[in-house]
């Protein structure tokens, strides 16, 4: 029983991290209909930012996550300005191609500049600490990442549904031209959305180096999982993304433990297929 609860708990915590990674992708996807293939690499960049801050300036990831978020916000905004902007409304798939190129560039620039070494921050505030609760082990880093992640996702949700800006974003997502006619500066909205999406994954990446090693390939699998989560939740739905992320975290942990670790991603991707076959627009999609 304790084992079962422990597995659930582990799943839930990785689910919460996935939620934060995916929500960034989700808003970009939902608003601009752009598959940002470089999303995993945004995560990697954030991890490097946080790692170097920690390594050189001895800043703890808990603080440098803000810097990482801000940095990737800028990376996202620049990506939009320099690349995505030119593809919008011209050809549906070209943004995919461009972001794929970008992911290759980011990955290899990091490889080139920082070498392929994997790097891990030691002696962080959270690193390696655990809490024990009724026989369950709660690793503090994951716990904090989970909490931060929920908080950020919550903020994004409120932003999108309660504020004027959120409305403007939704309107832009549905009909860019009509939104412009309402006085919404869609150019700014796009820039913001891309930045915001980057910032979310940036915060996630900023927190990670205290327990996951940074290397140029680290984002790949995260990016992959984020795609599946966003689609499973339903494009444009933040609550869907959250639910899907938690589900995927749970399924990953349960299948990994009760079936076999090799099959955990088979189960995760299988879950997506099952969900969309039952609900073709994802859990909460339009």
């Amino acid at each position: 029983m304790t084992t079962f609860m422990q597995v659930l708990l582990d799943g839930l915590m990785s689910g919460m991290l996935y939620a934060l990674v995916a929500v960034g992708l989700g808003i970009i996807f939902g608003v601009m209909d752009v598959i940002n293939f470089a999303h995993g690499e945004f995560l990697m960049v954030a991890m490097y930012v946080s790692y170097w801050l920690g390594f050189i300036l001895r800043v703890d990831p808990l603080i440098s996550m803000v810097a990482a978020g801000a940095f990737v916000f800028i990376v996202g905004a620049l990506t939009y300005r320099l690349i995505i902007k030119h593809t919008i409304g011209k050809s549906a798939m070209s943004a995919l191609l461009a972001t794929f190129g970008l992911s290759m560039v980011l990955k290899n620039v990091c490889l080139n500049r920082f070498s392929p070494n994997f790097r891990l921050l030691s002696d962080t505030w959270l690193g390696g600490k655990t809490l024990t609760l009724a026989g369950l082990i709660l690793p503090v880093p994951q716990l904090v990442i989970g909490i931060v992640s929920m908080a950020v996702v919550g903020c994004v949700y409120l932003l999108m549904s309660r504020t004027r800006l959120g409305w403007a974003i939704q309107a832009t997502a549905m009909d860019k031209e009509a939104a412009e006619l309402m006085g919404i500066d869609t150019e700014r909205i796009y820039l913001l959305v891309f930045g915001l999406g980057g910032a979310c994954v940036g915060i996630a990446g900023g927190l990670l180096p205290s327990h996951l090693a940074v290397h140029p390939e680290v984002g790949t699998l995260f990016g992959l999982i984020a795609f599946v989560i966003v689609a499973m939740g339903g494009f444009g739905s933040i609550s869907g993304t959250l639910l899907a992320a938690l589900l995927i975290g749970l399924v990953e942990a349960l299948a990994g433990f009760y079936i076999a670790p090799v099959f955990k991603y088979v189960a995760v991707f299988g879950l997506y297929l099952v969900v969309v076959l039952l609900r073709p627009k994802g859990l909460f999609g339009w």
Binding site: R164, W167, A168, Q170, A171, M174, D175, E177, A178, A179, E180, L181, M182, G183, I184, D185, T186, E187, W286
Partner: protein, 237 residues
């Protein structure tokens, strides 16, 4: 008197393919002006150029004595131009009332938005019943009304309507026309594009006839209605 809106020799089109070749027109404050023309004449293109969705390759658009040719649509609406586009362009996943409040996006005061919504719903009572329905599930006519209503939410000084009668039932066309007249009488300048030439000319002060991207005729609505070419080409007589 200085024109409220003046369009000078604009050339405009899509992807480098010109559609409008040197159109000029003027609208004075408080007027209702109507542009008529066959399919594909460039009426919509002209309207889009005025409101800033397109930018003229040559020529200028001046509004309230300022050059707005290069302003994007999101800025022209702040100067007081509201364009109700052809084909409605509602926000399909948002409810009717959400669509309406977005119409007043440039207004920041929430209470003011509610007040305007109230006003507009009085003009279009059908929408009141559907206030919480998603826009995409409205019938064609309901959607058209919502589009017009949304266009009026920003309290524009110049309201541009593109084929607003499209798909409306006869009694509604009548009603919408009456509403427009009323809106115009209350001080909003109106620029119309219409296929229902007769009805449009009946309510307008002046009119322009557009043919393959050029103004071929203009004058007071009465003159145009009497003109043989207009009658033959556009009124089916």
């Amino acid at each position: 008197m200085k024109p409220f809106l003046s369009v000078n020799e604009i050339h405009s089109g899509y992807d480098g393919v010109p559609v409008v070749h040197g159109v000029s027109l003027e609208v004075f404050r408080g007027e209702m002006v109507c542009i008529i023309g066959a399919n594909g004449a460039g009426k919509t293109t002209t309207m889009r150029t005025i409101c800033g969705l397109l930018h003229p390759e040559k020529g200028t658009v001046r509004f309230k004595d300022q050059d707005i040719s290069r302003l994007p649509a999101s800025r022209t609406i702040r100067r007081g131009i509201s364009y109700v586009p052809e084909g409605r362009r509602l926000f399909p996943k948002l409810s009717v009332s959400e669509n309406l409040s977005l119409g007043a996006f440039i207004e920041k005061d929430k209470r003011e938005i509610v007040r305007r919504e109230e006003e507009v719903l009085t003009l279009f009572p059908v929408l009141r019943q559907r206030a919480n329905q998603k826009a995409e599930t409205l019938s064609g006519g309901e959607q058209q009304m919502l589009a017009i209503a949304r266009g009026m939410m920003s309290r524009p000084e110049l309201l541009m309507l593109d084929e607003m009668s499209l798909g409306l039932m006869p009694s509604l066309v009548e009603k919408v026309m009456e509403t427009i007249v009323q809106v115009n009488a209350e001080g909003t300048t109106v620029l119309l594009v219409e296929q229902m030439v007769q009805e449009a000319l009946e309510i307008s002060h002046r009119g322009y006839v557009l043919q393959t991207g050029r103004i071929v005729q203009s004058g007071s609505a009465k003159e145009l209605m009497k003109s043989d070419e207009v009658r033959k080409a556009y009124m089916g007589m």
